[in-house]
């Protein structure tokens, strides 16, 4: 029961993608790779959203993850994917844990604004520091796997699929657990939860660290997928806005949603940019407005309806 239907679907679907990646053209694989990497950060935002919290600065952790990879590579020559991932997760997790002591007491607009401030502090530091690559960022060497340095991006794609599957299943288990369930309860009535004998602050803290770790992992995977890091697309407030946008696009309904939403976003952006280079933001922004106004459940609610009708 604990490993439920949703988890099975995630695992099977990502396995299928990993296999298919071998046969599909590179550009499609790249789109999927960027989409999946970013989806992990969105998954983190989804976890927060279940308690009604929206972070306008989640690029903070996304950036921390990405820059951890870059700094490990440049300063220590670490190219192993596992070491890089562990490093990114540790950094974002520990910083998330520390920051969480403050943010766990914040809600609504204050939570959003303090998150924004933190991410802009990081942005301000990176942009003005030569040792951190300033506005240009860094290129990152190709990842290796236990000393093997395979050609092409396919191995990295498989790795990303595996990490995504593990994270999605873990989040699904968390949401099904007592602690995860309480997140909905906290959104509904904090006073009641507290008087039933549960620490709201602790429950939110756990959730915050989880979302930080997911965003950190996402940043790590994205950095490797792109082969570079830069502050404007990874740490600036617009990057945070993008993540929130995908969360809205995906909908909070399921852990599968972020993966679909991110890939849709990746395609939307690529094609909008190709067809209308001066109007892609218009298309993206228009989509966001349309979803907020007419589709509060996101893309997932459409899928749910279609699948629901069949069965």
């Amino acid at each position: 029961m604990f490993f439920d239907r949703t988890s099975s679907i995630v695992v099977i679907a990502l396995f299928a993608c990993a296999v298919a990646g071998y046969f599909i053209p590179d550009w499609i694989m790249n789109q999927l790779m960027f989409g999946f990497a970013r989806a992990l950060a969105v998954l983190g935002l989804l976890v927060l959203w279940r308690t009604g919290l929206i972070s306008f600065g989640h690029a903070f952790y996304f950036g921390l993850g990405a820059y951890t990879v870059a700094l490990l590579d440049i300063n220590l020559g670490v190219s192993d994917v596992f070491l890089r991932l562990v490093g990114a997760v540790l950094v974002s997790g520990v910083i998330g844990w520390i920051v969480g002591f403050v943010l766990r007491n914040y809600r609504d607009i204050f939570f959003a604004m303090l998150s924004l401030a933190l991410s802009m502090v990081l942005y301000g530091i990176i942009v003005k520091t030569e040792a951190l690559g300033s506005t240009d960022g860094f290129s990152i060497s190709a990842p290796t796997f236990f000393g093997f340095a395979p050609d092409g991006k396919y191995p990295l794609f498989v790795f990303i699929c595996v990490v995504c599957a593990i994270c999605a299943v873990a989040v699904q288990m968390y949401l099904n657990s007592t602690l995860g369930w309480m997140t909905t309860a906290i959104r509904d009535n904090e006073v009641r939860v507290e008087y039933l004998g549960l620490s709201v602050a602790n429950a939110v803290h756990v959730k915050y660290v989880l979302s930080a770790v997911l965003a950190g992992a996402a940043g790590c995977l994205m950095a490797m997928a792109l082969g570079q890091v830069d502050p404007d697309s990874m740490v600036n407030w617009t990057a945070s806005g993008e993540l929130v946008f995908i969360t809205i696009l995906s909908g909070p309904g399921s852990v599968i949603a972020p993966f679909i939403g991110s890939v849709v976003f990746e395609l939307l952006r690529t094609y909008a940019f190709e067809w209308a280079p001066h109007a892609w933001q218009l298309i993206v922004g228009g989509t966001l407005l349309t979803i907020i106004l007419f589709l509060p459940g996101g893309v997932w609610s459409v899928i749910e309806k279609v699948v629901g009708k069949k069965s």
Partner: protein
């Protein structure tokens, strides 16, 4: 001494432009509870509109001084047109939704407006130096400053004073305060709240646009103008207290001076210091330095 005066004047000038933009943002938040990301676009629209028309009229041989008329006319025009369309056509359907969701909607709007600017005005930068050239320069404490920059301080003082007077000494101000304090109660007292919202939003938009319109002659008006100003004015408004006009004023001066000093003395911490202050204020005084009194719910 000269460094001090330079820093002070730079800071005050920078504060002035933040004041104009942030007062608009904070009024909209105070009355409508909308933290409007698209405010950055209003700023950019103001800048483009005034730069465009200053250039056009100058080409037609009108005197440089006419630029000042254009600046204020642009701000009012942007406020009336964009403000009205957006409030009536979009935001009206969002009231009652989560505050944070409305922020997202205005983020969507921001993206849309950024590109509409490009579609209307093109990607090439505009230079509207005429009003600045017209006012020439003056010597202050041994430093040559252009008068235009100093006039910004005057304009922002007038804007702040005007807002304060309007809010505290007029009938309109009382109505606004009533709506800010308790929306439901205002409705039952017969105040036309939807109308108040529309007028407030138009006014706030015009202020955002005025900031851009007035700054246009001093910069090259190019894409991406709105993105930077919006996070800065978020910082200002949060530091001062969301919805507070004196707060926006103090916040602007604080940020303006901090930035001027850091740009001059420690350029590497310019951005960092602003948001660090914002974070510190949020941690120790989340309601901001000058938050309006809140009604207790329990």
């Amino acid at each position: 001494m000269e460094t001090f005066i330079t820093n002070l004047l730079n800071g005050l000038q920078y504060s002035s432009y933040l004041v104009i933009v942030s007062v608009g943002l904070t009024i909209i938040f105070g009355v409508m509870k909308i933290l409007n990301v698209a405010h950055g676009s209003f700023y950019a629209w103001g800048a483009y509109t005034s730069a465009f028309f200053i250039g056009k009229f100058s080409d037609m041989g009108w005197p440089d001084a006419f630029g000042f008329v254009i600046i204020f006319a642009s701000a009012i025009a942007v406020g009336l047109v964009l403000g009205f369309i957006i409030e009536r056509g979009l935001l009206r359907f969002m009231y009652g939704r989560d505050e944070v969701v409305i922020i997202l909607a205005t983020f969507g709007l921001f993206l849309v407006l950024e590109d509409v600017i490009l579609l209307v005005f093109g990607v090439d930068p505009y230079f509207a130096y005429q009003p600045m050239a017209y006012l020439e320069s003056v010597e202050v404490g041994g430093i040559t400053r252009d008068v235009y920059g100093l006039s910004l301080i005057l304009v922002s003082t007038l804007v702040a004073a005007g807002c304060w007077y309007g809010l505290n000494r007029t009938k309109w101000g009382n109505i606004l305060k009533a709506v800010i304090f308790d929306r439901e109660m205002s409705v039952s007292m017969g105040i036309n709240v939807p109308m108040v919202y529309t007028v407030t939003f138009i006014g706030g938009t015009a202020l955002g646009a005025l900031g851009g319109a007035y700054i246009a002659p001093t910069v090259s008006v190019a894409p991406g103008l709105g993105g930077e100003v919006i996070v800065l004015s978020f910082a200002v408004v949060v530091i001062g207290g969301m919805g507070s006009i004196p707060g926006a004023l103090i916040g602007s001066i604080l940020i303006g001076l901090l930035r001027a000093i850091s740009v001059h003395e420690f350029p590497q911490i310019e951005l960092f210091v602003i948001f660090a202050v914002m974070a510190v204020v949020l941690v120790f005084r989340p309601e901001g330095l000058f938050a309006p009194a809140k009604v207790r719910k329990i």
